[in-house]
Symmetry: C2
Subunit: 334 residues, 2 copies
């Protein structure tokens, strides 16, 4: 699909984004608003989560914003009726927090997804649903790069529940005929990510530490491989998944094609920011238990189906992210 | 482990069985009571489920019986404290019902399992937990026989949620150090199964139809392979899983080693009962969508680890089941 075909596809399209004020949701909202789509965002703005009103600065008059929770059945029933494409991005996204409160993670990531699917089934079964899956569904990968039909063994409650959420999609596809897609998103970084806490989005957090001239802590030797995508590439993946019919009914890995060791990512940040310094410390018990080792994804299925390729290098992406937060720091630091 | 070692292992052992008045739970309770174990059963006796007081006839004075729901956190917290081995068998087990009320299935099979695991973590982290997993975790198998680390694609909400429940086990194993085992149980039949409805346990249901001289309906040509285990063999698998330390931390398939086409199972029943007749009809839409095709399990991992082998042939198992229900019909027909 050419860029102009994508533009045309989304023009005036009625789109719902759950978690729309968060990192992935708001970046997608900007891209869709630029293309003239009619976008509604739903987000509960839980204080400890990634939702941030500033994330829609510049498009706030062009998108509908509903501050509410996807776990409200009535809300979802009325919302899904009016939208032909739904990006389901809302979720509890912290690995660590999922272990501290597994019931909350279950409630948001499983029950919340079921509420959405039931609403679509009952009130708008023709809507297409794009689900934000995650590399956490795989846990420790058994072969590298990992493919979509490899065995999955999540190492945290978040991964188990996100995988169950995706599993529901395939039931609603096969039993109820819904059109569903899952993007199993790898580590993503960039503008509009929360910068309040270290519990998820570690690359962004390291950028904050560097900007604050604080030490950046690497657990162990940091040699585990990571597969980072800049958020604009993930946004483009969402757009393609939503526009190309052939994505329907499938799960797709995203990936960078350029995995790098964790510590090198941190070195890049220090080099680009020109501040901060790396400190290696032993793994804390809590973290070690949910560390998955190297993660490298094979995203060829998605490339074959949509033509998608990540375009932003890590260096370039970090530089853009730094520029963004230098400018808008006050809206993200707290 | 020899039979006398198993006897000795279970003597006076304090054991909790969730779903203890149901099919698998009550058969296990009989075996444990015979071995002199101190057994507590917890079961809510939901009318539409498999729990039945008659299932513990003969041992009712030797086991503790608590009529309550595993979703009561306080109850589970007090119960796990007093037991060193927990068989977690309670669950919503109907594929069809899981599609009709996915929230209830989620609540029982996911939240219920989390409640148990949290209770064990907080109040008795040394207890061993044996989880009743299911072939439904695999859904449509991609290779036959299916092995434990093959890709899983459940075709109903029940399968997704049971798989999530098992996934929690591995998190509690790795993060919190709990000793957990999952038996992925294939189709099981035999005495003490509910005979009220056709929504699960189809072999038992066919036995009822034959005993009632009613037609037995086969959807399609019935050529899909099934892997049936008689309940005594599954009980033996539970006993070994609970007694042998090497099972700890692992998932195991059970299987028969003698898969047979679905329609042949029905023919065996008609031949043994001497009543009933087969009728082939096209697949109803509702059933077709969650039909998985042939299912054959590789149970060699469990055999290697425990020495377990299924011992009861299908013919023999059906005959024993028929004898049981001919005798106790009034407690199961309704």
């Amino acid at each position: 699909m050419t860029k102009s075909e994508i533009e045309k596809h989304y023009q005036k399209k009625k789109i719902l984004i759950t978690g729309g004020l968060g990192f992935l949701g708001s970046n997608l909202a900007h891209a869709l608003a630029e293309k003239g789509a009619c976008v509604t965002l739903v987000d509960p703005l839980f204080p400890e989560y990634g939702g941030n009103r500033f994330n829609v600065a510049g498009i706030e008059d062009r998108v509908g914003i509903i501050i509410d929770d996807i776990r409200s059945e009535k809300l979802m029933q009325s919302l899904v009726k009016e939208h032909e494409l739904i990006f389901h991005i809302a979720g509890q996204t912290s690995h660590i927090d999922s272990l501290k409160d597994p019931f909350l993670d279950l409630d948001i990531n499983c029950r919340g997804t079921l509420i959405l699917l039931e609403a679509v089934r009952k009130f708008n079964p023709k809507a297409k649903i794009i689900y934000a899956g995650t590399r956490a569904q795989y846990g420790k990968i058994l072969k590298s790069p990992v493919e979509e039909q490899d065995y999955m063994q999540p190492v945290d409650i978040y991964g188990v529940n996100k995988h169950a959420g995706e599993g529901y999609l395939w039931i609603y596809r096969d039993v109820h005929g819904l059109e569903c897609v899952s993007l199993r998103i790898n580590n993503t970084y960039g503008p509009r990510h929360q910068m309040k806490q270290a519990n998820y989005g570690i690359l962004n957090w390291f950028i904050r530490l560097a900007l604050d001239s604080k030490p950046i802590t690497i657990y162990g030797d940091g040699s585990q491989l990571r597969d980072y995508n800049f958020v604009d590439d993930v946004t483009q993946a969402f757009l393609l998944a939503g526009a190309i019919p052939e994505t329907g009914g499938q799960a797709f890995n995203l990936g960078s094609g350029n995995p790098i060791p964790f510590y090198k990512m941190a070195e890049e940040i220090v080099a680009i920011v020109g501040k901060g310094e790396l400190q290696k410390v032993p793994w804390p018990e809590e973290r070690k238990k949910i560390e998955v080792g190297s993660y490298v994804a094979d995203y060829s299925r998605f490339s074959r189906t949509t033509g998608w390729q990540p375009e932003i290098t890590l260096k370039d992406g970090i530089a853009r992210t730094v520029t963004y937060y230098e400018k808008y720091k006050k809206h993200y630091w707290s």
